[in-house]
């Protein structure tokens, strides 16, 4: 693990995993001895194949599950010491299927947490329009639409808007673009890069797509079989000789070969 | 956008459905106007008595009377009276004692009446009015010819001859402890044979000489019309089934004139008179209300001469 990848003491660490582990009731170990931290303003990508434990790690952050071993800290407090509801309202959560409420308009979906937090109507209205614009949707058209009237890409944008509504300092994203077709995916990823710079939030993003990890991540955490195999910056990952990292990069390169119209 | 408006309008109007329902429900709980409801059980004698009570109330008061006859039995009538769906019906004291109050049976009519009256007031707030005058109890019947030939008029007198008689009984009389078994023990009566017959065929079998003695009811219509003799229950074995109008106390409270009207009927119907009316309706097929009206007129109760 490189020097650059490790967080320096005194940095603005907002999330920290200390020897965190998670075991199912039946005995299967989903996470084992995971250690990393996330600073404000950085995007940590959890990269790995299905079953690597990345989603479990994510869900430890907003207490959808609690660690069986070790500890997870948010804002320097152990998650188990946080009231789960308060913690989750402090964190934006975007999932692959979006999970928009089908019986709510786009407006009501986005303004969910602000309404739970009892913002004023005026504040809510302003914020909702602001967010829609931010994710690239025209408020005049989309405010009163229902989720089933939106395309996949539009729904995912609303999902992001919803997660950002109460301006949480942390954003958790679980394969957010996985369900989209490649063209839409590329489009949204590009827009998201812009958003990242604008928002300055701590983002933890789960993906199995190496390209996405390289594009969006400030740092990349490679996970395999419930363990953290390495923490890299994008450059370091590309140049790494460690077997797991190399395997991911090779897979990416294999695709690129096709892009250049066949062999060299 | 038009769609949300139509949806929200549809939602609002569909909310009216439960509201309308609740309103209907509340309407169901309110009482009806100045009407008295007279009930009866589901055989002709009961309907006749109900009709007599109904016409009497109509003649003597300004109240409207609704008839709810042919209710399926004592239990149904009792429930209807409790719930206030009917205001009155005619019950038999023995039935009231055993089937409604679940008290053990007694033979003394005065005791039974007093007990029923007291218990009904205490437990249900029902008023038991004085008997209409007849006792619809079990009747042991033989052919009139035989009665005269053997000079037998009571059950005790029948004991020596009973050994030669073939008996025909209804299922209930055979099975009930206060029916055949109890009677046999009380009088030492033993018949040559005892068959179960359909109730409707009892008298026909008797008259056709297929049986020699049957157990019927003392107000059966055929008893008035054929040469049949009821053997007197001289040991007073059979329980009394005096016909008494039962009325809700709150009905009497609201309409005291109903009490006066029904009281006039006390003691007015004798056993033979009830038999005659039953015969008219059941065997002759005459109209129920006509027969009732005729009865009231003959008794001078309808105020007409």
């Amino acid at each position: 693990m490189s020097q650059l990848a490790k967080a320096q003491p005194g940095d603005d660490v907002i999330i920290e995993f200390c020897r965190a582990g998670y075991r199912l009731g039946g005995g299967a170990t989903l996470l084992n001895n995971v250690n990393f931290s996330v600073r404000r303003g950085e995007t940590l990508v959890l990269l790995g194949r299905s079953g690597a434990g990345k989603t479990t790690a994510l869900r430890l952050i907003n207490r959808l599950v609690d660690p069986s071993e070790g500890e997870v800290f948010v804002e320097r407090r152990r998650t188990v010491d946080w009231d789960p509801i308060a913690l989750r309202r402090h964190i934006g959560y975007v999932i692959q299927e979006t999970g928009l409420f089908p019986h709510y308009t786009v407006e009501k979906n986005i303004s969910l947490v602000p309404r739970l937090e009892r913002w004023t109507d005026q504040q809510i209205r302003t914020r909702t329009q602001e967010l829609l614009t931010l994710v690239g949707l025209d408020p005049a058209i989309f405010l009163k639409r229902y989720p089933h009237e939106l395309s996949g890409g539009q729904r995912q944008r609303v999902g992001v808007a919803r997660a950002l509504a109460a301006n949480p300092p942390i954003l958790l994203m679980d394969e957010p673009f996985g369900a989209l077709d490649p063209l839409t995916r590329a489009e949204i990823r590009a827009e998201f890069q812009t958003l990242q710079r604008q928002l300055g939030k701590a983002i933890v993003l789960v993906t199995h797509d190496t390209g996405e990890a390289l594009l969006l991540g400030t740092r990349i955490a490679l996970m395999e079989a419930g363990e953290l195999k390495g923490l890299y910056s994008p450059q370091e990952l590309l140049g790494s000789e460690e077997p797991v990292a190399a395997a991911y990069v090779d897979q990416l390169r294999a695709l690129e070969k096709f892009d250049r119209g066949g062999g060299r | 956008m038009k769609r949300p408006d139509r949806r929200s309008r549809a939602r609002t109007s569909s909310a009216l459905i439960p509201i309308a329902f609740v309103a209907l429900l509340m309407a169901a709980c309110t009482r009806r106007g100045e009407t008295i409801v007279v009930g009866s059980k589901n055989f002709p004698e009961q309907a006749l008595l109900g009709e007599i009570v109904a016409q009497q109330i109509e003649a003597r008061t300004h109240l409207r009377v609704e008839r709810r006859f042919y209710l399926a039995g004592s239990f149904i009538c009792q429930q209807a009276l409790l719930a206030g769906r009917i205001d009155t019906y005619v019950e038999y004291t023995g039935t009231a004692l055993t089937a409604i109050l679940h008290d053990p049976i007694e033979s003394d009519p005065a005791t039974v009446f007093a007990q029923v009256k007291q218990e009904y007031r205490r437990r249900f707030n029902f008023e038991v009015m004085p008997s209409l005058g007849f006792n619809n109890t079990f009747a042991i019947v033989i052919r009139g010819q035989e009665a005269r030939r053997l000079n037998v008029h009571t059950l005790t007198q029948a004991v020596p001859y009973a050994r030669q008689w073939r008996a025909g009984f209804g299922y209930e009389f055979m099975e009930r402890p206060d029916g055949y078994p109890g009677m046999a023990k009380a009088y030492g009566l033993h018949f040559a044979s005892a068959r179960i017959l359909d109730l409707g065929l009892l008298y026909r079998a008797l008259l056709d000489n297929q049986v020699d003695v049957v157990a019927g009811n003392s107000t059966d219509g055929l008893l008035a019309a054929r040469d049949l003799t009821i053997l007197q229950d001289d040991k007073h074995y059979f329980p009394p089934y005096e016909a008494v109008p039962i009325v809700r106390e709150d009905t009497l409270g609201r309409y005291p004139e109903v009490r006066d009207a029904i009281s006039e009927l006390a003691g007015e119907i004798s056993d033979p008179e009830m038999q005659k009316m039953n015969y008219a309706v059941a065997a002759q097929g005459r109209d129920l209300s006509e027969v009732a009206r005729g009865f009231l007129h003959d008794k001078g109760l309808d105020g007409k001469q």
Partner: protein, 216 residues
């Protein structure tokens, strides 16, 4: 016919109101008990077998037999309306519990996950997400239960509950077709009417999102 209506019209109306009261009281009770039970079953799937199993037993017993069973029970059996409403409620429970549980379990797990992740409490999720999305299914259960109740309430006249069934029994005893119809037709109309009105509510309250593939 007109004469018959003139004579008995008031009685028919009264009997109808009695019937509606029996059905209404039953449905209120059945919904008050059944919907919460359905929610509990949805939350704890291991309860599904015992709860639904018991309700199913009550449903399987023939209605007249159930009324008969309850007759000797103290306090309950003393008054026909208590007895009837109890029996009718037991009958109405199964469709309501089953549909409530199905409706709530059937909510898209992604929606539930998102709701939890955003910081909604269990009660908020129930109130703002699960129930609104299940309303149509729950109403379908209520509709089935209501029509069932109207029918069985007719039989309950046999134990003295009154209502339109009483006309039918009286008509049978007197061999009077008009009386029978005076009970049967309004009862049928009542069942059809309830079915129709509740069907409208069910359709109107159906969730917006269709279950098929969304627009691209």
């Amino acid at each position: 016919m007109n004469q018959f209506l003139a004579q008995h019209g008031n009685e028919i109306l009264e009997a109808s109101l009695e019937h509606i009261w029996l059905v209404g009281a039953t449905m209120l009770l059945a919904i008050a008990i059944g919907v919460p039970l359905g929610i509990v079953v949805a939350r704890k799937p291991w309860l599904s077998k015992p709860v639904l199993g018991s309700a199913n037993i009550a449903e399987t017993i023939p209605s007249l037999a159930l009324l008969g069973f309850l007759l000797p029970v103290p306090w309950l059996g003393a008054r026909a309306d208590r007895l009837t409403i109890t029996a009718l409620t037991l009958y109405a429970l199964l469709p309501i519990i089953r549909n409530t549980a199905a409706g709530i379990s059937g909510v898209d797990p992604a929606v539930r996950e998102a709701a939890r992740g955003m910081g909604m409490s269990g009660g908020q999720i129930l109130l703002h997400v699960e129930l609104p999305l299940s309303v149509s299914t729950i109403l379908a259960g209520i509709r089935v239960a209501t029509v069932l109740t109207v029918g069985i309430a007719t039989i309950a006249a046999a134990v003295g509950a009154g209502g339109l069934g009483e006309f039918i029994f009286r008509g049978l005893a007197m061999v009077n077709d008009q009386l029978i119809l005076a009970g049967a037709i309004p009862a049928a109309l009542l069942a059809l009417g309830a079915d129709f009105l509740l069907g409208i509510m069910e359709r109107v309250l159906r969730p917006v999102a269709p279950q098929h593939k969304p627009a691209q």
